[in-house]
């Protein structure tokens, strides 16, 4: 069964304290792995798509990486405005119209 697991469930960081969020997955043929940011009361907002092991994408303080079994979202020198829930999702080759989401990591960055 296709599955996505994110860890930790919640993370509190001091401003400037770098860390990583994990997304491990089992899927029958990965078509794409996606990272989203979700602010309270809002819909998920797209951050990155990764397609193959070894691929990396960067945006401001965020960097996403992908291996054959997991993805990491690295947050470098975070600021309070980076506080949000970060969601990971995968799209399998079979049934390519279906996206499977993890439960998310709630990140709180303290000033």
């Amino acid at each position: 069964e296709d599955q996505v697991t994110q860890s930790p469930e919640a993370l509190r960081l001091q401003e400037g304290e770098s860390s990583s969020l994990n997304c491990s997955y089992t899927v029958s043929g990965l078509r794409g792995l996606f990272w989203y940011r979700q602010d309270p009361g809002k819909g998920p907002e797209f951050l990155f798509t990764l397609y193959s092991a070894g691929e990396e994408k960067e945006k401001e303080r965020l960097k996403a990486t992908l291996t054959k079994k997991e993805s990491f979202l690295h947050i470098t020198a975070p600021k309070p405005e980076d506080s949000a829930t970060y969601l990971c999702a995968v799209q399998a080759r079979e049934g390519t119209y279906k996206y499977i989401f993890g439960t998310g990591t709630r990140l709180k960055v303290l000033a």
């Binding site: 996606f34 819909g43 998920p44 907002e45 797209f46 798509t49 969601l87 279906k98 989401f101 993890g102």
Partner: protein
């Protein structure tokens, strides 16, 4: 472009009532989805559509119905509302070969 638009934003229903959550997109996307999000449970797929006239069940379809008469609109119907349907509902869309899906702002539904 407005993107994906959902209405209403908030709604309180009594047990046994019915209602329709509206979703419209103006990006000419052929794939559309309805998800529900419960605290700590992630996004669960209710129904999806690959084009006008074509719909199929996702992981949690019981108690819901959908239709897709146009490319733009994908309404979600709740029949005989139950407290278990209290949740946040998100509509999303993408195009064939699209590398991500775009979400609406969500509809908060409480069944009492």
């Amino acid at each position: 472009n407005a993107g994906v638009t959902q209405t209403p934003k908030f709604r309180i229903l009594k047990i046994g009532q019915s209602m329709t959550l509206q979703c419209a997109q103006d990006m000419n996307h052929n794939y559309m989805y309805w998800y529900r999000q419960d605290p700590g449970m992630g996004l669960k797929l209710i129904y999806y559509s690959v084009g006008a006239g074509i719909t199929d069940k996702g992981e949690v379809p019981n108690g819901y119905n959908v239709s897709r008469s146009t490319t733009e609109d994908f309404p979600l119907r709740l029949e005989l509302a139950a407290p278990s349907q209290t949740s946040v509902y998100f509509c999303a869309s993408t195009w064939t070969g699209g590398n991500t899906i775009y979400f609406g702002e969500g509809s908060w539904l409480t069944v009492v």
